[in-house]
Protein backbone atom coordinates (compact mmCIF):
# COMPACT_ATOMS: atom_id res chain seq x y z
CA UNK A 1 0.00 0.00 0.00
CA UNK A 2 1.23 3.45 -0.83
CA UNK A 3 0.86 6.23 1.73
CA UNK A 4 2.12 9.18 -0.27
CA UNK A 5 2.37 9.84 -4.00
CA UNK A 6 4.94 11.84 -5.89
CA UNK A 7 2.30 14.52 -6.48
CA UNK A 8 1.70 14.73 -2.70
CA UNK A 9 5.43 15.10 -2.12
CA UNK A 10 5.60 17.86 -4.74
CA UNK A 11 2.72 19.66 -3.01
CA UNK A 12 4.29 19.31 0.47
CA UNK A 13 7.64 20.56 -0.87
CA UNK A 14 5.87 23.66 -2.09
CA UNK A 15 4.27 24.21 1.32
CA UNK A 16 7.67 23.73 2.99
CA UNK A 17 9.49 26.11 0.59
CA UNK A 18 11.84 23.34 -0.53
CA UNK A 19 12.72 22.06 -3.97
CA UNK A 20 14.02 18.71 -5.18
CA UNK A 21 15.38 17.52 -8.50
CA UNK A 22 13.90 14.39 -10.10
CA UNK A 23 16.16 11.85 -8.43
CA UNK A 24 15.81 13.53 -5.01
CA UNK A 25 12.03 13.54 -5.50
CA UNK A 26 12.09 9.83 -6.28
CA UNK A 27 14.11 9.02 -3.17
CA UNK A 28 12.11 11.37 -0.91
CA UNK A 29 8.83 9.80 -2.03
CA UNK A 30 9.95 6.26 -1.29
CA UNK A 31 11.50 7.22 2.09
CA UNK A 32 8.47 9.23 3.21
CA UNK A 33 6.24 6.38 2.13
CA UNK A 34 8.14 3.93 4.34
CA UNK A 35 8.24 6.31 7.32
CA UNK A 36 4.55 7.21 7.06
CA UNK A 37 3.76 3.51 6.65
CA UNK A 38 5.55 2.87 9.94
CA UNK A 39 4.03 5.72 11.94
CA UNK A 40 0.53 4.94 10.60
CA UNK A 41 0.32 2.13 13.15
CA UNK A 42 -0.93 4.66 15.71
CA UNK A 43 -4.25 4.59 13.83
CA UNK A 44 -4.87 1.18 15.49
CA UNK A 45 -4.89 2.75 18.96
CA UNK A 46 -8.27 3.53 20.52
CA UNK A 47 -8.09 7.16 21.66
CA UNK A 48 -11.81 7.91 21.73
CA UNK A 49 -11.78 9.09 25.37
CA UNK A 50 -8.25 10.49 25.46
CA UNK A 51 -7.29 14.17 25.46
CA UNK A 52 -4.33 15.28 23.33
CA UNK A 53 -1.06 16.32 25.05
CA UNK A 54 0.77 19.28 23.51
CA UNK A 55 3.46 19.52 26.16
CA UNK A 56 4.14 18.24 29.64
CA UNK A 57 3.89 21.35 31.76
CA UNK A 58 0.73 22.29 33.53
CA UNK A 59 0.92 25.93 32.46
CA UNK A 60 -1.11 28.10 30.14
CA UNK A 61 -0.28 31.71 29.36
CA UNK A 62 2.76 33.26 31.01
CA UNK A 63 2.67 37.01 31.50
CA UNK A 64 5.12 39.60 32.75
CA UNK A 65 4.73 43.24 33.68
CA UNK A 66 4.40 45.40 30.58
CA UNK A 67 7.60 47.32 31.19
CA UNK A 68 10.11 48.64 28.71
CA UNK A 69 13.28 46.55 28.80
CA UNK A 70 16.57 46.66 27.03
CA UNK A 71 16.55 44.89 23.68
CA UNK A 72 18.93 44.47 20.75
CA UNK A 73 20.00 47.59 18.87
CA UNK A 74 19.09 47.60 15.18
CA UNK A 75 22.80 47.33 14.41
CA UNK A 76 22.99 44.11 16.44
CA UNK A 77 19.75 42.78 14.97
CA UNK A 78 21.08 43.36 11.46
CA UNK A 79 24.57 42.05 12.15
CA UNK A 80 23.85 38.62 10.59
CA UNK A 81 21.77 39.92 7.68
CA UNK A 82 22.85 38.55 4.26
CA UNK A 83 21.96 41.99 2.84
CA UNK A 84 20.75 45.16 4.50
CA UNK A 85 19.88 48.68 3.51
CA UNK A 86 18.79 51.72 5.51
CA UNK A 87 18.36 49.76 8.74
CA UNK A 88 16.25 47.01 7.14
CA UNK A 89 16.67 43.51 5.71
CA UNK A 90 17.05 43.70 1.94
CA UNK A 91 15.32 40.94 -0.08
CA UNK A 92 14.81 40.22 -3.79
CA UNK A 93 11.65 41.39 -5.52
CA UNK A 94 8.48 39.95 -3.96
CA UNK A 95 6.79 37.70 -6.51
Amino acid sequence: MSFISKDDVRHVAKLAELEFDDSEMEKMTSQLDRILGHVAKISQVDTSNVEPTSHMLNISNVYREDLKKQSLSSKEALSNAPEERDGGFLVPKID
Partner: protein, 495 residues
Protein backbone atom coordinates in the same frame (compact mmCIF):
# COMPACT_ATOMS: atom_id res chain seq x y z
CA UNK B 1 47.98 4.23 36.81
CA UNK B 2 47.62 7.93 37.50
CA UNK B 3 45.31 9.57 34.98
CA UNK B 4 46.46 12.75 33.22
CA UNK B 5 44.69 16.00 34.16
CA UNK B 6 42.50 16.00 31.06
CA UNK B 7 40.91 12.68 32.14
CA UNK B 8 39.98 13.80 35.67
CA UNK B 9 36.47 14.85 36.69
CA UNK B 10 35.76 18.50 37.49
CA UNK B 11 35.31 17.92 41.22
CA UNK B 12 38.84 16.45 41.51
CA UNK B 13 40.32 19.28 39.44
CA UNK B 14 38.48 21.81 41.58
CA UNK B 15 40.01 20.29 44.71
CA UNK B 16 43.48 20.33 43.14
CA UNK B 17 43.00 23.97 42.15
CA UNK B 18 41.98 24.86 45.70
CA UNK B 19 44.98 23.04 47.15
CA UNK B 20 47.20 24.75 44.57
CA UNK B 21 48.45 21.41 43.21
CA UNK B 22 47.62 22.64 39.71
CA UNK B 23 46.76 25.90 38.00
CA UNK B 24 43.99 26.45 35.48
CA UNK B 25 46.75 26.98 32.92
CA UNK B 26 48.06 23.47 33.67
CA UNK B 27 44.60 22.03 33.03
CA UNK B 28 44.10 24.00 29.82
CA UNK B 29 47.58 23.08 28.58
CA UNK B 30 46.85 19.38 29.17
CA UNK B 31 43.60 19.72 27.22
CA UNK B 32 45.19 21.62 24.36
CA UNK B 33 47.90 19.02 24.01
CA UNK B 34 45.23 16.28 23.99
CA UNK B 35 43.30 18.19 21.33
CA UNK B 36 46.50 18.45 19.26
CA UNK B 37 46.99 14.70 19.47
CA UNK B 38 43.50 13.33 18.83
CA UNK B 39 41.05 15.95 17.58
CA UNK B 40 41.98 15.55 13.91
CA UNK B 41 41.10 11.83 14.18
CA UNK B 42 37.71 12.48 15.79
CA UNK B 43 36.32 15.73 14.29
CA UNK B 44 34.47 16.31 17.58
CA UNK B 45 34.96 20.09 17.56
CA UNK B 46 33.67 22.53 14.95
CA UNK B 47 35.73 25.24 16.61
CA UNK B 48 38.40 25.17 19.34
CA UNK B 49 38.75 28.35 21.41
CA UNK B 50 42.48 27.99 21.94
CA UNK B 51 43.29 31.65 22.61
CA UNK B 52 40.16 32.09 24.71
CA UNK B 53 41.05 29.06 26.83
CA UNK B 54 44.59 30.27 27.51
CA UNK B 55 43.38 33.76 28.36
CA UNK B 56 40.55 32.55 30.64
CA UNK B 57 42.97 30.24 32.43
CA UNK B 58 45.56 33.01 32.91
CA UNK B 59 42.83 35.36 34.20
CA UNK B 60 41.64 32.69 36.60
CA UNK B 61 45.15 31.98 37.88
CA UNK B 62 46.05 35.62 38.46
CA UNK B 63 42.64 36.27 40.07
CA UNK B 64 43.01 33.24 42.32
CA UNK B 65 46.57 34.10 43.27
CA UNK B 66 45.53 37.58 44.30
CA UNK B 67 42.65 36.12 46.30
CA UNK B 68 39.83 37.51 44.14
CA UNK B 69 38.33 34.43 42.66
CA UNK B 70 35.53 32.56 44.31
CA UNK B 71 37.04 29.18 43.65
CA UNK B 72 34.39 27.40 45.70
CA UNK B 73 32.10 27.65 42.72
CA UNK B 74 32.54 24.17 41.33
CA UNK B 75 33.21 25.23 37.76
CA UNK B 76 35.71 28.05 38.14
CA UNK B 77 38.57 27.27 35.81
CA UNK B 78 36.94 24.08 34.44
CA UNK B 79 37.01 23.64 30.63
CA UNK B 80 33.59 22.76 29.18
CA UNK B 81 32.65 22.06 25.53
CA UNK B 82 29.33 23.39 24.21
CA UNK B 83 27.17 21.76 21.55
CA UNK B 84 27.01 24.02 18.51
CA UNK B 85 23.25 24.57 18.74
CA UNK B 86 23.65 26.62 21.96
CA UNK B 87 24.19 30.33 21.29
CA UNK B 88 27.50 31.84 22.35
CA UNK B 89 27.71 35.59 21.93
CA UNK B 90 30.31 36.58 19.33
CA UNK B 91 31.26 32.95 18.61
CA UNK B 92 29.95 31.13 15.53
CA UNK B 93 27.00 28.84 16.30
CA UNK B 94 26.26 26.70 13.25
CA UNK B 95 23.96 23.83 14.32
CA UNK B 96 26.34 21.87 12.05
CA UNK B 97 24.31 23.22 9.13
CA UNK B 98 25.30 25.05 5.99
CA UNK B 99 22.35 27.36 6.52
CA UNK B 100 23.87 28.70 9.77
CA UNK B 101 27.52 28.23 8.81
CA UNK B 102 28.19 31.98 9.17
CA UNK B 103 25.85 32.74 12.09
CA UNK B 104 27.34 34.72 14.98
CA UNK B 105 24.86 35.11 17.87
CA UNK B 106 24.48 38.57 19.41
CA UNK B 107 23.46 37.09 22.76
CA UNK B 108 24.37 34.21 25.08
CA UNK B 109 22.00 31.34 25.85
CA UNK B 110 20.88 31.39 29.48
CA UNK B 111 22.96 28.28 30.24
CA UNK B 112 26.04 30.06 28.87
CA UNK B 113 25.36 33.14 30.99
CA UNK B 114 25.08 30.90 34.06
CA UNK B 115 28.26 28.99 33.22
CA UNK B 116 30.09 32.28 32.74
CA UNK B 117 28.91 33.43 36.17
CA UNK B 118 30.26 30.16 37.55
CA UNK B 119 33.66 30.90 35.99
CA UNK B 120 33.80 28.10 33.41
CA UNK B 121 36.26 28.04 30.51
CA UNK B 122 34.80 27.47 27.02
CA UNK B 123 36.88 24.87 25.15
CA UNK B 124 34.97 25.26 21.91
CA UNK B 125 31.84 24.40 19.98
CA UNK B 126 31.16 20.69 19.56
CA UNK B 127 30.07 18.90 16.40
CA UNK B 128 26.58 17.40 16.14
CA UNK B 129 23.98 16.09 13.72
CA UNK B 130 22.59 19.00 11.70
CA UNK B 131 19.89 20.74 13.77
CA UNK B 132 20.23 17.89 16.30
CA UNK B 133 18.49 15.50 13.91
CA UNK B 134 20.20 12.13 13.93
CA UNK B 135 21.49 9.27 16.05
CA UNK B 136 25.00 8.86 14.63
CA UNK B 137 26.46 12.33 14.04
CA UNK B 138 26.76 11.42 10.34
CA UNK B 139 24.36 14.26 9.46
CA UNK B 140 26.81 17.10 10.23
CA UNK B 141 27.47 19.42 7.29
CA UNK B 142 31.06 19.53 8.58
CA UNK B 143 31.59 15.76 8.49
CA UNK B 144 30.92 12.94 10.94
CA UNK B 145 32.40 12.59 14.44
CA UNK B 146 34.30 9.35 15.06
CA UNK B 147 33.85 7.32 18.23
CA UNK B 148 37.01 7.63 20.37
CA UNK B 149 36.75 3.92 21.33
CA UNK B 150 36.82 2.83 17.68
CA UNK B 151 37.35 5.38 14.94
CA UNK B 152 35.37 3.29 12.43
CA UNK B 153 32.25 3.64 14.55
CA UNK B 154 29.75 6.40 15.27
CA UNK B 155 29.74 8.25 18.62
CA UNK B 156 25.93 8.34 18.59
CA UNK B 157 23.93 11.48 18.09
CA UNK B 158 22.86 14.03 17.89
CA UNK B 159 25.32 15.25 20.57
CA UNK B 160 28.18 13.13 19.17
CA UNK B 161 30.75 15.89 19.61
CA UNK B 162 29.94 16.73 23.25
CA UNK B 163 30.02 13.01 24.14
CA UNK B 164 33.25 12.27 22.24
CA UNK B 165 35.16 15.24 23.74
CA UNK B 166 34.44 14.13 27.32
CA UNK B 167 35.21 10.47 26.53
CA UNK B 168 38.47 11.33 24.76
CA UNK B 169 39.76 13.79 27.36
CA UNK B 170 39.48 16.84 25.10
CA UNK B 171 36.93 18.49 27.44
CA UNK B 172 36.26 17.91 31.14
CA UNK B 173 32.49 18.22 30.78
CA UNK B 174 30.15 19.40 28.05
CA UNK B 175 26.61 20.53 27.40
CA UNK B 176 24.34 18.89 24.86
CA UNK B 177 20.65 18.87 24.03
CA UNK B 178 18.25 15.95 24.08
CA UNK B 179 15.03 15.80 22.03
CA UNK B 180 14.65 12.02 21.64
CA UNK B 181 17.85 10.72 23.22
CA UNK B 182 20.48 13.07 21.84
CA UNK B 183 22.36 13.28 25.17
CA UNK B 184 21.78 9.80 26.58
CA UNK B 185 22.39 7.71 23.44
CA UNK B 186 25.82 9.25 22.61
CA UNK B 187 26.75 9.14 26.32
CA UNK B 188 25.98 5.43 26.17
CA UNK B 189 27.97 4.83 22.97
CA UNK B 190 30.97 6.84 24.27
CA UNK B 191 31.07 5.52 27.86
CA UNK B 192 30.31 8.76 29.72
CA UNK B 193 27.50 10.10 31.91
CA UNK B 194 24.72 12.04 30.15
CA UNK B 195 21.68 13.60 31.82
CA UNK B 196 18.44 14.81 30.28
CA UNK B 197 16.71 16.87 32.99
CA UNK B 198 12.94 17.23 33.46
CA UNK B 199 11.38 19.27 30.63
CA UNK B 200 11.38 22.89 31.80
CA UNK B 201 14.07 22.50 34.48
CA UNK B 202 16.75 24.08 32.26
CA UNK B 203 16.03 27.19 30.20
CA UNK B 204 15.92 26.70 26.42
CA UNK B 205 16.58 30.39 25.77
CA UNK B 206 19.40 30.47 23.21
CA UNK B 207 19.07 26.79 22.28
CA UNK B 208 18.30 26.75 18.56
CA UNK B 209 14.91 25.04 18.54
CA UNK B 210 14.31 21.61 17.02
CA UNK B 211 11.11 20.32 18.69
CA UNK B 212 10.08 22.76 21.37
CA UNK B 213 7.88 20.46 23.46
CA UNK B 214 10.70 17.89 23.69
CA UNK B 215 14.06 19.76 23.64
CA UNK B 216 16.06 19.99 26.85
CA UNK B 217 19.68 20.98 27.58
CA UNK B 218 21.75 18.76 29.84
CA UNK B 219 25.30 17.89 30.93
CA UNK B 220 27.84 15.27 29.84
CA UNK B 221 30.46 14.33 32.42
CA UNK B 222 32.92 11.64 33.53
CA UNK B 223 30.96 10.83 36.64
CA UNK B 224 27.62 11.33 38.35
CA UNK B 225 28.98 13.90 40.81
CA UNK B 226 29.95 16.29 37.99
CA UNK B 227 26.54 15.78 36.42
CA UNK B 228 24.84 16.96 39.64
CA UNK B 229 27.21 19.95 40.01
CA UNK B 230 26.63 21.09 36.44
CA UNK B 231 22.88 20.75 36.82
CA UNK B 232 23.11 22.97 39.94
CA UNK B 233 24.58 25.70 37.76
CA UNK B 234 22.30 25.52 34.71
CA UNK B 235 18.90 24.67 36.24
CA UNK B 236 16.10 26.96 37.35
CA UNK B 237 13.46 29.38 36.16
CA UNK B 238 14.28 31.87 33.43
CA UNK B 239 12.04 34.75 32.48
CA UNK B 240 13.18 34.36 28.86
CA UNK B 241 11.80 30.83 28.51
CA UNK B 242 8.05 30.75 29.12
CA UNK B 243 8.20 26.94 29.43
CA UNK B 244 10.77 26.96 32.23
CA UNK B 245 9.41 25.72 35.55
CA UNK B 246 8.79 28.70 37.82
CA UNK B 247 8.91 26.81 41.11
CA UNK B 248 12.62 26.01 40.76
CA UNK B 249 14.92 29.00 41.31
CA UNK B 250 18.48 29.00 39.99
CA UNK B 251 20.91 28.51 42.85
CA UNK B 252 18.26 27.24 45.25
CA UNK B 253 18.91 23.55 44.70
CA UNK B 254 21.93 21.43 45.50
CA UNK B 255 21.68 18.12 43.67
CA UNK B 256 25.01 16.95 45.13
CA UNK B 257 23.25 16.23 48.42
CA UNK B 258 21.51 13.30 46.71
CA UNK B 259 24.85 11.66 45.93
CA UNK B 260 24.48 9.00 48.59
CA UNK B 261 25.77 5.46 48.23
CA UNK B 262 22.59 3.85 49.50
CA UNK B 263 19.46 2.53 47.88
CA UNK B 264 18.02 0.28 50.55
CA UNK B 265 14.30 -0.07 50.11
CA UNK B 266 14.27 1.78 46.80
CA UNK B 267 11.85 0.34 44.25
CA UNK B 268 13.17 -0.17 40.71
CA UNK B 269 10.87 -1.08 37.84
CA UNK B 270 12.13 -2.72 34.65
CA UNK B 271 9.86 -1.98 31.66
CA UNK B 272 9.77 -5.24 29.75
CA UNK B 273 9.10 -3.41 26.45
CA UNK B 274 12.56 -1.81 26.75
CA UNK B 275 14.32 -5.16 27.31
CA UNK B 276 12.69 -6.70 24.23
CA UNK B 277 14.11 -8.59 21.30
CA UNK B 278 15.70 -5.55 19.60
CA UNK B 279 18.17 -5.22 22.48
CA UNK B 280 21.56 -6.91 21.93
CA UNK B 281 22.29 -9.81 24.27
CA UNK B 282 25.44 -8.20 25.64
CA UNK B 283 23.56 -4.98 26.41
CA UNK B 284 20.77 -6.86 28.15
CA UNK B 285 23.29 -8.88 30.13
CA UNK B 286 25.08 -5.72 31.33
CA UNK B 287 21.79 -4.16 32.45
CA UNK B 288 20.85 -7.39 34.26
CA UNK B 289 24.23 -7.41 36.03
CA UNK B 290 23.60 -3.86 37.22
CA UNK B 291 20.11 -4.81 38.41
CA UNK B 292 21.66 -7.65 40.42
CA UNK B 293 24.06 -5.14 42.01
CA UNK B 294 21.10 -2.91 42.86
CA UNK B 295 19.32 -5.85 44.46
CA UNK B 296 22.46 -6.68 46.46
CA UNK B 297 22.47 -3.06 47.64
CA UNK B 298 18.99 -3.51 49.07
CA UNK B 299 16.77 -2.26 46.24
CA UNK B 300 13.57 -4.03 45.25
CA UNK B 301 13.39 -4.97 41.55
CA UNK B 302 10.15 -5.67 39.70
CA UNK B 303 9.11 -6.06 36.08
CA UNK B 304 6.47 -3.75 34.66
CA UNK B 305 4.68 -3.50 31.34
CA UNK B 306 4.13 -0.13 29.64
CA UNK B 307 2.14 -1.33 26.61
CA UNK B 308 1.76 2.05 24.89
CA UNK B 309 5.57 2.38 24.51
CA UNK B 310 5.07 0.25 21.41
CA UNK B 311 3.75 3.42 19.75
CA UNK B 312 6.34 5.87 21.13
CA UNK B 313 8.59 5.85 18.07
CA UNK B 314 5.63 6.53 15.77
CA UNK B 315 4.31 9.32 18.00
CA UNK B 316 7.77 10.88 18.14
CA UNK B 317 8.30 10.77 14.37
CA UNK B 318 5.09 12.71 13.91
CA UNK B 319 5.37 15.24 16.75
CA UNK B 320 9.10 16.06 16.51
CA UNK B 321 9.11 16.67 12.71
CA UNK B 322 5.87 18.67 12.98
CA UNK B 323 7.42 21.01 15.53
CA UNK B 324 10.65 21.09 13.54
CA UNK B 325 8.90 22.03 10.31
CA UNK B 326 7.43 25.02 12.12
CA UNK B 327 10.63 26.00 13.98
CA UNK B 328 12.82 25.69 10.88
CA UNK B 329 10.57 27.89 8.76
CA UNK B 330 12.56 30.84 10.17
CA UNK B 331 15.59 29.85 8.09
CA UNK B 332 14.76 31.61 4.85
CA UNK B 333 17.87 33.60 3.96
CA UNK B 334 16.42 36.93 5.14
CA UNK B 335 17.67 37.72 8.64
CA UNK B 336 20.66 35.42 9.11
CA UNK B 337 22.43 32.46 7.64
CA UNK B 338 23.07 31.26 4.12
CA UNK B 339 21.35 33.04 1.20
CA UNK B 340 21.30 31.87 -2.41
CA UNK B 341 22.17 34.99 -4.40
CA UNK B 342 21.07 33.78 -7.85
CA UNK B 343 17.32 33.88 -7.28
CA UNK B 344 15.55 36.92 -8.73
CA UNK B 345 12.42 36.68 -6.57
CA UNK B 346 11.76 36.36 -2.86
CA UNK B 347 10.14 32.92 -2.93
CA UNK B 348 12.76 31.66 -5.32
CA UNK B 349 15.38 32.86 -2.82
CA UNK B 350 13.58 31.06 0.06
CA UNK B 351 13.43 27.80 -1.87
CA UNK B 352 16.99 27.85 -3.17
CA UNK B 353 18.48 28.97 0.16
CA UNK B 354 16.63 26.21 2.00
CA UNK B 355 17.25 23.54 -0.65
CA UNK B 356 21.00 24.28 -0.57
CA UNK B 357 21.23 25.19 3.13
CA UNK B 358 19.62 22.10 4.69
CA UNK B 359 20.96 18.54 4.47
CA UNK B 360 18.90 15.45 3.50
CA UNK B 361 17.80 14.38 7.00
CA UNK B 362 16.64 17.89 7.92
CA UNK B 363 14.66 18.12 4.68
CA UNK B 364 13.15 14.69 5.31
CA UNK B 365 11.92 15.80 8.74
CA UNK B 366 10.60 19.12 7.45
CA UNK B 367 8.68 17.18 4.80
CA UNK B 368 7.22 14.65 7.30
CA UNK B 369 6.22 17.49 9.62
CA UNK B 370 4.71 19.66 6.92
CA UNK B 371 2.73 16.68 5.66
CA UNK B 372 1.47 15.76 9.17
CA UNK B 373 0.29 19.31 9.78
CA UNK B 374 -1.23 19.88 6.35
CA UNK B 375 -4.94 20.13 5.62
CA UNK B 376 -6.61 16.73 5.52
CA UNK B 377 -3.87 14.93 7.46
CA UNK B 378 -3.70 16.89 10.72
CA UNK B 379 -6.32 14.79 12.56
CA UNK B 380 -4.95 11.45 11.36
CA UNK B 381 -1.34 12.25 12.18
CA UNK B 382 -0.53 15.19 14.46
CA UNK B 383 -3.64 15.19 16.62
CA UNK B 384 -3.77 11.41 16.81
CA UNK B 385 -0.12 11.38 17.90
CA UNK B 386 -0.88 13.90 20.65
CA UNK B 387 -3.62 11.61 21.96
CA UNK B 388 -1.38 8.55 21.94
CA UNK B 389 1.22 10.72 23.73
CA UNK B 390 -1.31 11.03 26.57
CA UNK B 391 -1.53 7.22 26.79
CA UNK B 392 2.27 7.02 27.09
CA UNK B 393 2.13 9.58 29.93
CA UNK B 394 -0.57 7.51 31.62
CA UNK B 395 1.64 4.42 31.47
CA UNK B 396 4.56 6.27 33.09
CA UNK B 397 2.27 7.78 35.75
CA UNK B 398 1.07 4.31 36.64
CA UNK B 399 4.65 3.05 36.81
CA UNK B 400 5.76 5.81 39.17
CA UNK B 401 2.91 5.06 41.56
CA UNK B 402 4.65 1.77 42.21
CA UNK B 403 8.34 2.44 41.50
CA UNK B 404 10.86 5.18 42.40
CA UNK B 405 12.85 4.76 39.19
CA UNK B 406 12.76 2.70 36.00
CA UNK B 407 15.91 1.10 34.58
CA UNK B 408 16.52 0.04 30.97
CA UNK B 409 19.29 -0.08 28.39
CA UNK B 410 20.01 3.42 27.03
CA UNK B 411 20.56 2.16 23.50
CA UNK B 412 19.64 -1.27 22.12
CA UNK B 413 23.18 -1.70 20.80
CA UNK B 414 26.76 -0.54 21.27
CA UNK B 415 28.32 1.88 18.75
CA UNK B 416 27.62 0.81 15.16
CA UNK B 417 29.85 1.25 12.12
CA UNK B 418 29.89 4.54 10.24
CA UNK B 419 27.64 4.11 7.19
CA UNK B 420 25.91 1.02 8.59
CA UNK B 421 22.48 2.68 8.95
CA UNK B 422 23.03 5.84 6.94
CA UNK B 423 20.85 4.81 3.99
CA UNK B 424 17.92 3.57 6.03
CA UNK B 425 16.20 6.33 8.03
CA UNK B 426 13.81 3.95 9.80
CA UNK B 427 16.62 1.67 10.94
CA UNK B 428 18.46 4.73 12.27
CA UNK B 429 15.35 5.94 14.09
CA UNK B 430 15.17 2.59 15.92
CA UNK B 431 18.43 3.48 17.73
CA UNK B 432 16.35 5.68 20.01
CA UNK B 433 13.56 3.29 21.02
CA UNK B 434 14.62 3.29 24.70
CA UNK B 435 15.14 7.05 25.02
CA UNK B 436 12.28 8.57 23.00
CA UNK B 437 9.40 7.72 25.39
CA UNK B 438 11.12 9.74 28.14
CA UNK B 439 11.06 12.96 26.08
CA UNK B 440 7.43 12.48 25.11
CA UNK B 441 6.57 12.49 28.81
CA UNK B 442 9.05 15.23 29.78
CA UNK B 443 10.74 13.00 32.35
CA UNK B 444 14.32 13.19 33.65
CA UNK B 445 16.70 10.34 32.75
CA UNK B 446 20.41 9.64 32.91
CA UNK B 447 22.72 7.28 31.05
CA UNK B 448 25.67 5.87 32.99
CA UNK B 449 28.30 3.40 31.77
CA UNK B 450 27.40 -0.20 32.65
CA UNK B 451 30.51 -1.89 31.27
CA UNK B 452 32.33 -2.77 28.06
CA UNK B 453 31.23 -5.28 25.44
CA UNK B 454 33.44 -8.13 24.21
CA UNK B 455 34.59 -5.74 21.47
CA UNK B 456 35.59 -3.17 24.12
CA UNK B 457 32.72 -0.82 23.30
CA UNK B 458 30.84 0.98 26.08
CA UNK B 459 27.35 -0.13 27.15
CA UNK B 460 25.00 2.40 28.74
CA UNK B 461 22.26 1.99 31.33
CA UNK B 462 19.31 4.38 31.58
CA UNK B 463 17.68 5.46 34.84
CA UNK B 464 14.31 7.22 34.45
CA UNK B 465 12.51 9.05 37.25
CA UNK B 466 9.23 10.89 37.68
CA UNK B 467 8.92 14.62 36.87
CA UNK B 468 11.39 16.71 38.93
CA UNK B 469 12.65 13.62 40.76
CA UNK B 470 16.28 14.15 39.77
CA UNK B 471 17.01 13.35 43.44
CA UNK B 472 16.10 9.69 42.80
CA UNK B 473 18.14 9.65 39.61
CA UNK B 474 21.29 10.91 41.33
CA UNK B 475 20.89 8.57 44.29
CA UNK B 476 20.51 5.48 42.10
CA UNK B 477 23.11 6.59 39.53
CA UNK B 478 25.69 7.35 42.24
CA UNK B 479 25.14 4.03 44.03
CA UNK B 480 25.24 2.01 40.81
CA UNK B 481 28.28 3.91 39.53
CA UNK B 482 30.17 2.85 42.67
CA UNK B 483 28.92 -0.74 42.44
CA UNK B 484 29.71 -1.10 38.71
CA UNK B 485 33.13 0.53 39.07
CA UNK B 486 33.47 1.46 35.38
CA UNK B 487 36.96 2.91 35.05
CA UNK B 488 37.93 2.59 31.39
CA UNK B 489 39.07 5.26 28.97
CA UNK B 490 39.67 5.08 25.21
CA UNK B 491 43.44 5.40 25.69
CA UNK B 492 44.22 3.54 22.45
CA UNK B 493 43.23 6.75 20.73
CA UNK B 494 46.50 8.27 21.96
CA UNK B 495 48.74 5.53 20.55
Amino acid sequence: MELPLNFLPAHKLNKMLQERQVSATDIVSALLSAIDKVEAKMNAYLRVEKEGMLKSAADFDSGFNSGQDNILSGFSGIPVAIKDNICTKGITTTCASRILSNYIPVYDATVIRRLKNAGYILTGKANMDEFAMGSSNENSYFGPVKNPWDLERVPGGSSGGPAATVAAGTAICSLGSDTGGSIRQPASLCGVVGLKPTYGLVSRYGLIAFASSLDQIGPFSRDVEDSASLLNIICGWDEQDSTSISSVKNGSLDYTKYLVDDMKGLKIGVPKELMAAEVDDEVRAAVNRALKLAEDAGAFIGEISLPSLEYALSVYYIIAPSEASSNLSRFDGVRYGYRNRDAATLRGMYKKSRAQGFGPEVKRRIMIGTYSLSAGYYDAYYEKAQRVRTLINNDFNRAFKKYDVLISPTSPSTAFKIGEKADDPLKMYMSDICTIPVNLSGLPAISIPAGLSSQRLPIGLQIIADTLREDNIFRVAYTLEKAIGFNSHPINLYE
